[in-house]
Amino acid sequence: MSEILVVVDHVDLPEGVAIKKSTYEMLTLAARIGVPSAVFIGPKAKGAGVAEAVKRYGAQRLYVVDDEDLKSYPVAPKAEALQQLVEKTSQSGGVGAVLITSSAEGKEVAGRLAITTGSGLITDAIDIEAGDDGPLTTQSVFAGSYTVKARVTRGTPIITVKPNSAVPVEADGAGQVDEVAVTVSEAARGARIVASQPRAVTGRPELTEAAIVVSGGRGTGGDFDPVEDLADALGAAVGASRAAVDSGWKPHSYQIGQTGKNVGPQLYFASGISGAIQHRAGMQTSKTIVAVNKDEEAPIFELVDFGVVGDLHTVLPAVTEEVRRRKG
């Protein structure tokens, strides 16, 4: 069985490292196609803590790449570090695939890595299974209207995986820590990060990780209180349509759709969102879809499992109350 490298998706915090759920999902998928190893590009001192976490999801090894020399530059140094790791591990048995979260930066890193390692690239996989000729991926394309199965035919398969693509399964891993020294080229230092403002903490689940997402659109008229109250009652993340973001009602980090976040929760609750194709592209893989909209002709109703034609400003508070009452 060949080694599958899973790049740890995380946010570096002063008090530690917040590992995203997608990391555990990818380790679970990796175990289906080979022996999972994790790769942590971050502060070396935090490697041991990360190893403890990933070994509970089956990581046999954790490669730690200290990011002191990398973190001031976007994308390129990470891709170089991974290239060097792939080449190094290839000498000792071979890498079966590299799995990276389908985030904006993850996809960019993957694109560069594919070129430098001479490997095929698949983005936005929603499933991975073992195939006769290597890992077989599933993707949802054209705003969810087609499902595509594909595989890489050259080099080391580089696959970006959408969050929520698997249910993380705990497994015993050895979690052996292996520090890796990498070199960063001058070319990779050409773009420099001079300021960074972390996202405001909302206390709600991360949009792409959440099991339930409640989102609001033009129909809110700018009043997101009913949307947020319902989200909190359900323990959900809050999202917004592009119309709501363009109106300045919510920051872009809330946007769901083609040019925003791509979500696939267990339950997607659209309020006051018409459901344009650009919006569908970001939520159509949701398992259950519910909508409240005043306009019974809204295209969102073509997608729903359950829909209410009505004013969200009266329906949502009533649903929130019902949810709180039934949850006790």
Binding site: E105, I115, G120, R199, H252, I289, F301, F306, V309, V323
Partner: protein, 271 residues
Amino acid sequence: MKIAVCVKYVPDATGNRHFQHDKTVDRVGVDGLLSELDEYAVEQALQIKEKAGSPDDVEVTVLCVGPEQAVDAVRKALQMGADDGVHVQDDAIAGSDAIATSLVLAKAMQRGGGADGAGMPYDLVMCGMASTDGAMSVMPAMLAQRLSLPQLTLASKIETQGAKVRIQRDGDDATQVVVGEMPLVLSVTDQSGEPRYPSFKGIMAAKKKPVKILTLSDIGVDAGDVGLSAAWTVVEETTARPPREAGEIVKDEEGSGARALADFLATQKFI
């Protein structure tokens, strides 16, 4: 200053997008257009030109790889105000993956947009944030890798001062300010500013603007390195997703909608 804006000709998302027998996207038998998200790159290129000390010294070239019809995407960008176009068109390119497409784009740029091998003449290589069909979002990073240029990508705000470029990048977990110096690759998001509509004057002027057609041999790319047979990935199957089964839709009358919805959520075990 010379700016290259990479644009893609894509099937209209409101039309019937589908795959062909060879499991590639049908780009010829359907209505196509300039990928909407590339219009933002054209817009920002035009703004850089307009804000320059002498706009006439800034040349905006639109670069496109695609079948004959793809010239429509180039024309649209010329109507918006770009100066000229380069269209790499070769039957051997059909079915290329992103890796091969990035090779063709990079070689076309390194050839100075022509067959003379003059070297990479562009100070800025601009792209949209993703195509509206494949939506991989990898082309800017791949071009930066191939051209050994810095990448300032996913910009929602752009400032240039001489050769210096400063962007706001709305990343996954943070908003960053990223700086670099030309030549570099710059991709912009749909938060960078609404693209203009072509004016009547722009539409008329575009008819006279030159579009250079290049083949693979013009740019020194071996036909064996591109196209479906050279792709580093293979699509095993494509399945049209069955339409969702019609859900239950109720009209809210004095609170009935909320109760029915709560019942639904309860039966689905969400509460």
